[in-house]
Symmetry: C2
Subunit: 227 residues, 2 copies
């Protein structure tokens, strides 16, 4: 569930298009790693489970990168989408909350090659502050005291933060982040955050995701009973 | 990004309504734990960042549970939403892929009170098969060999599975799940899965979520430059 600063459209792109661009980029990067230089809209669309009409419409917002009958130049399209998303460079991110989930995100190998590096980890529990965490082979960061969070963000020009605290601490952490100048937050805490307009929150509520699946299972079971 | 068996509407409910029901349920449970017995649509809507008109429309699909000028009975509404989502009972789930992310989900405390229990963990790496994992205090499960996955699903009537394998193994695991009768999959692997129609996939691609945030940061930076 996203709270977007400008629901509907941003910078001329529909929100739904923005949400699909990372998926296209991921698939194109995979095609490139397999040696593909050109790709048809049908093949790319099939790979990401959208219609080719949808794909062409989404990509039309980025300017004309496809050639009829030839397809898209994979490298050119990767560069165009990466530039649009701003991931043609690396973004330092901070993770606040060093429980199981925070630690697994800190060590997640899938961030580095998609535009993100862990700048720092924060927690409030004195027993883990100062603890070393090997975020990738040979690369260690030490858990910092959350009371230094605002200072760290300002001094290091951090623009993106991840909240992996319990629900009870999440709003407090969110307020610190926003006051320190953060406008982009990904949160896993199962609570709705109040943020000023202009701040983007991407919430991933794991149990809610599963509950959407159970709705369908439940509906199917009821249909069977009805028969 | 959801691939739904019936895009648009399911069992008479719009997909977007289904996605908001878990959020309403979460907020209502929180209000109840604070002692609330009645809640106005405005208060509930504010708590979850939707308009009260949207809230009332969503809840109207569940039948008439609100009284004008009085609001909703919190317990009654909790029961109605839980029954609609099918989480008035506990669903056993399996997690396939016992790396950092899979382990953190196995230990995630937020599943138990929202309708889910970990039935089993699976991996393909012989060095961790048989390893005990304490999923909650005093409750240990042992990592099972993925070659027993299909049998376990059939014998234990598992309906929901979570994929936390690397991208390279995810489609193979997905095929095993689908062949074993699973119709509901949550996946964290950063790859698009091919599933037959009728199978619901909820994909959580962590780097894609962050890239949606960088899009906004990038757009804002470009606007500043333009000035």
């Amino acid at each position: 569930m996203a709270q977007s600063r400008t629901p509907g459209k941003t910078a001329g792109l529909p929100a739904a298009t923005v949400e699909r661009l990372p998926i296209y980029l991921r698939a194109l990067t995979e095609f490139k790693s397999q040696g593909a230089e050109l790709i048809s809209s049908e093949d790319l669309a099939n790979a990401v489970n959208v219609t080719s009409a949808q794909l062409r419409k989404d990509l039309s917002y980025l300017g004309g990168h496809g050639t009829r009958g030839v397809g898209y130049d994979v490298s050119v399209l990767i560069q165009a989408i990466a530039a649009t998303l701003g991931v043609d460079k690396q973004w330092p991110i901070v993770i606040v909350g060093c429980g199981n989930l925070g630690m697994s995100l800190a060590k997640y190998a899938g961030f580095a090659n998609r535009g993100f590096k862990i700048a720092a980890l924060f927690d409030a529990a004195s027993e883990i502050i100062g603890k070393p965490v090997e975020i990738s082979e040979g690369q260690v960061v030490y858990i910092k005291d959350v009371s230094f969070l605002a200072t760290f963000i300002r001094e290091n020009n951090i623009q993106i933060a991840v909240i992996t605290t319990p629900a009870t601490s999440a709003q407090n952490v969110c307020d610190i982040l926003v006051n320190a100048g953060i406008y982009s937050i990904m949160t896993f805490a199962p609570v709705s955050l109040n943020v000023p307009s202009g701040v983007d929150v991407r919430q991933i509520d794991l149990a809610s995701e599963l509950q959407i699946l159970t709705f369908h299972e439940q509906t199917k079971a009821n249909e069977v009973i009805a028969i």
